[in-house]
């Protein structure tokens, strides 16, 4: 019931996205409401750390740029540093819906060659939030 309420609110807010319009918890709830099942952090971990073949050859894994330890800073292939992904060390993570959506779309496409499902997004955020 609660989840069903949050998703429309979230989507309504998405277009004129403001930084700080959401939180990791709200996103997990919204994405799992969309997929219809509970998030599985272990699956998120496997997806994030695993090597994939469907995407672009230079980016086989999320860890290519975000490193194997999301509590540490990563580095893009261009040399630019990337701030840590775990919200426990970087509270700015997963607080802007449009930003999160943009990067899931791009990065899943680069690594997997397709977009991530709502279930996968919920799994990943749940795992990152547990660190």
């Amino acid at each position: 019931m609660k989840k069903a309420l949050i998703l429309p609110v979230l989507l309504a807010m998405a277009p004129p996205a403001l930084a700080g319009d959401t939180s990791p918890g709200a996103l997990i709830e919204a994405y799992s409401a969309q997929s219809g099942s509970a998030p599985v952090p272990e699956n998120g971990k496997a997806l994030f750390l695993g090597k994939h073949v469907g995407g672009k050859p230079d980016t086989p894994s999320c860890a290519t740029c975000h490193t194997n330890d999301p509590r540490k800073g990563g580095q893009a292939r261009t040399g630019k540093p990337i701030d840590p992904m775990a919200p426990s060390v970087n509270p700015k993570r997963f607080t802007d819906t449009r930003f999160v959506e943009k990067w899931f779309r791009r990065n899943c496409n680069s690594v997997l060659g397709r977009e991530c499902s709502a279930q996968e997004k919920a799994d990943i955020i749940a795992w990152l939030s547990s660190l």
Binding site: T59, Q75, R77, T78, G79, K80, R106, N107, N109, S110
Partner: protein
């Protein structure tokens, strides 16, 4: 005792010629030092030494200017009229020299040595002029910045380099000539350039006395320096035409969307058509998906086009202006970039703080300004993090 030295003194003086006056000797060794510094910094060291290179070059040109004035106002052996050979005299000297040894010794410059002096002075002036042109056209600094277009950079830098190679050759010949002459005449010519004196011998070709006019010479040199300096300051102060858009004026959308994965590349690094080709394929962007909503993409494309290489007169813009738009390549994959960086140790690009050759801003502090001045290069140290 007293008497003895009084008797000896005139004899000793008579046995020696005072050939090179003190200004001329100072000039000679300062020029040797400044040209050496300029050659070493120019040929052997990287662009971060450019300040020392410029300082040495400017000093050399000022010295030569003063020497030219001294060539009209100095004492006998410093004067051009004394040593500039006429073609006939040069031919006669060469003939004598090839036949055996010239019978008579030139106390000042012999005709071949004189030619060398003129060639060296001209080469330094040429190096100064082409250096200034390179600085103006290429680096948009100095008095010629608003006069010469950046597209001429290649011409001026190549001419400057060719002259530097020529002066290096002249110096080798000059040293060879000095050693050869010293052996032949049994006197140390290099030491004569330190002490100023040569021993007198019978049959020497001596120059008729000419009074030096040091005050007049100093006044002329000062006047030249002051007017030259004023002209340089006035010209250097003129505002540049078509400078690259300042990084502070980049629109927020560009910084947000195009500086997330890498530095904000300056729009003047590519032509309008190259930007349009790149923006049309953001979903396949150097091996990554950088796609954007259409209207955001259009906004960025319009801004990049309005500030592209064609609209800017500086060196990086002129280097990559004619890059063919397709395929979309990174600048490090172009021959221009590879030529500029051929002396940069490839291992530097693998350092963690650099990581990618396209991470220009890691080494070029002014990369986001679009200038890439050799004054602003600092290679990051290997970090231990």
């Amino acid at each position: 005792m007293m008497n003895q030295s009084q008797i000896l003194a005139p004899d000793a003086r008579a046995a020696r010629h005072q050939v090179w006056d003190v200004f001329l000797r100072l000039f000679h060794w300062s020029l040797a030092a400044s040209v050496t510094v300029a050659l070493v910094t120019g040929f052997l060291l990287d662009a971060s030494w450019v300040r020392l290179h410029l300082g040495a070059g400017i000093l050399a040109v000022i010295l030569v200017m003063a020497r030219i004035v001294w060539g009209f106002a100095g004492p006998a052996y410093a004067r051009f009229e004394q040593f500039l050979p006429r073609p006939g005299a040069l031919r006669a000297y060469l003939r004598e020299h090839l036949a055996g040894a010239p019978r008579r010794r030139h106390v000042g410059h012999n005709p071949l040595g004189a030619l060398m002096v003129v060639a060296l002075l001209l080469a330094v002036l040429g190096l100064g002029a082409t250096g200034l042109a390179y600085l103006g056209g290429g680096l948009k600094t100095g008095p010629l910045a608003t006069i010469l277009p950046a597209t001429q950079t290649g011409f001026w830098s190549e001419t400057h380099e060719a002259l530097a190679a020529i002066i290096l050759g002249l110096i080798v010949l000059h040293l060879g000539g000095v050693i050869h002459e010293s052996r032949r005449c049994g006197e140390n010519l290099a030491r004569a350039m330190v002490t100023g004196c040569k021993e007198a011998r019978s049959g020497d070709l001596v120059a008729p006395h000419r009074p030096a006019r040091p005050i007049l010479a100093a006044a002329v040199v000062l006047a030249l320096l002051a007017s030259g300096g004023a002209a340089v300051v006035a010209l250097s102060g003129r505002p540049l035409q078509d400078p690259p858009v300042a990084a502070a004026e980049f629109p927020a959308v560009y910084a947000d969307e195009c500086a997330a994965c890498h530095m904000a590349y300056h729009p003047a690094l590519r032509s309008a058509s190259s930007w349009q080709a790149l923006m049309a394929r953001l979903d396949d962007h150097f091996g990554e998906d950088a796609s954007l909503p259409d209207e955001t993409g259009a906004e960025i494309t319009a801004w990049l086009t309005a500030n592209s290489a064609e609209t800017v007169d500086n060196r990086p813009a002129s280097l990559w202006r004619d890059l063919s738009p397709l395929p979309v390549v990174a600048l490090p994959d172009t021959p221009q970039w590879q030529e500029l960086h051929e002396n940069v140790d490839p291992a530097l690009f693998k350092r963690r703080a650099v990581y990618s050759r396209s991470n220009c801003a890691a080494c070029h502090r002014d990369a986001e300004s679009g200038w890439f001045s050799p004054f602003a290069i600092s290679i990051p140290k290997e970090n231990t993090q």
